[in-house]
Symmetry: C2
Subunit: 87 residues, 2 copies
Amino acid sequence: MNPATETSLEHAERVQIKDLVRHHVHDLRNCINCANMEASLLGDSVTDPDMLESLASIRQQMMDMDKLASSFAKNFAHYPDPEDPTD
Amino acid sequence: MNPATETSLEHAERVQIKDLVRHHVHDLRNCINCANMEASLLGDSVTDPDMLESLASIRQQMMDMDKLASSFAKNFAHYPDPEDPTD
């Protein structure tokens, strides 16, 4: 994005989008961490190989979602932050 | 957004953002569905109340993430779709 072409409307919208993305990723990570904690608790009580495999798969999905969240947020890394009026 | 103030740059950027959001939500839902399937498999083998509670909590987190994804996508529902050049 060329700053010379950025209107104040665009700036305000980008600030809003970055804020939405940041909150979304934060909320996702809360859920991922809670689910991981429960999967970890379950793992302490499980010995059956099939059940351990299902638990490992759940934790893998949580890792994948964490990566998805990071990768998604990176698309907006260059967007201006609310607290930075010079962006 | 007043269409009269929208430049082609803004339009292209919004189309791109909507596409990113759509892919992100789709990928998240894939992970959520996989984790739910594994949690369901585990639920068939578990009888211990503490373990059932942990499983229920994992499934609740998956439901919460699904809601987060829907709610996040709604912020961009009014953005133009790639296939609709008149937006």
